[in-house]
């Protein structure tokens, strides 16, 4: 149990931040609107969670325009991918014994 806890990333313990990183690991880029739709979060809350991930260097953002409207595209960084893998491995170690 403690070995699992030792590997957990406190930033990814929040489910929206974890889900964001998992979603971004399966796509090249996701827009803010798409993330909001998938996660069912409010603009303000999602924006705050994304900023935390961005400040920690786990995701990067690209601003673009589409049909004259601003769109923010998010991508998982290499550091973010490493952190996500380590966190998921720690979660697996934590949960696996309970499932037996």
């Amino acid at each position: 149990m403690s070995a699992g806890l030792a590997g957990l990333d406190s930033l990814l313990e929040h489910r929206s931040r974890l889900a964001t990183c998992v979603l971004l690991s399966r796509a090249d880029q996701l827009s803010f609107s798409r993330l909001r739709q998938l996660l069912g979060e409010s603009d303000g809350n999602l924006g705050a969670q994304l900023r935390k991930l961005e400040d920690a260097g786990l995701i990067s953002v690209r601003k673009a325009y589409q049909d004259r409207r601003p769109v923010s595209w998010y991508r998982l960084t290499a550091a973010g991918r490493r952190a996500l893998v380590a966190h998921l491995e720690a979660l697996t170690r934590l949960i696996a014994p309970a499932g037996r």
Binding site: M1, L5, V22, S31, R34, L38, Q66, L94
Partner: protein
């Protein structure tokens, strides 16, 4: 954080989000190929000589247009996934390559020219069915319909290609309508 129940709930939340994430093909691609198939199959009955030329142009052009429509759809859906696009391109590119390579059998008279049409139909049926399994679910039954059209082509004598084209085009159009109903508005 050691609360396993909360952990499981969080993971369920993540799983639900991930399951909703992928976007299907844009409806326009189904409509495009519905029209191309309708015209291309119908040509067999009215102008057999123009069939190879038609598909030599319409096949690659339709592929390129489909790639553009797919890219635009991903942009509008807020979900960019290059590897998915590459998988589509490889899948349909392999079909075009197989049909092209198959023409060598006709040129070398290993297969009679009149037999090549049904062979292509079988290849297309398999490609659509596999696309339904691995890329876009609705294409699975389009593949089955094309396989049925293949049997029709073998068993009838007049306007069989036109009839087969109508069936396949209708299947593609219906798939397009279904795709447009489940469409995601984003970005």
């Amino acid at each position: 954080m050691t609360d396993l129940t909360r952990l499981r709930e969080d993971l369920d939340f993540v799983r639900a989000s991930v399951e909703d994430a992928p976007v299907g093909s844009p409806p326009a691609i189904y409509f495009l190929w519905g029209v191309l198939v309708l015209v291309g199959f119908g040509l067999h009955d009215v102008s057999l000589d123009s069939v190879p030329i038609y598909w030599a142009v319409a096949g690659p052009a339709g592929g390129l247009l489909s790639a553009y429509l797919g890219w635009r759809h991903q942009q509008r859906s807020g979900y960019l996934n290059a590897s998915r696009g590459i998988r589509y391109a490889l899948h349909w590119g392999a079909l075009l390559a197989a049909v092209f390579l198959g023409t060598f059998m006709v040129r070398q008279r290993i297969v009679a020219a009149e037999a090549f049409g049904p062979v292509v139909l079988l290849l297309v049926a398999q490609a659509y069915f596999h696309a339904g399994l691995h890329l876009d679910g609705p294409l699975r039954w389009v593949g089955l319909l094309i396989a049925a059209a293949y049997l029709v082509v073998l068993s009838m004598s007049t306007y069989v290609w036109t009839l087969a084209g109508v069936v396949v085009a209708a299947a593609l159009m219906i798939s397009g309508v279904r795709a447009s109903r489940g469409r995601i508005v984003a970005a």
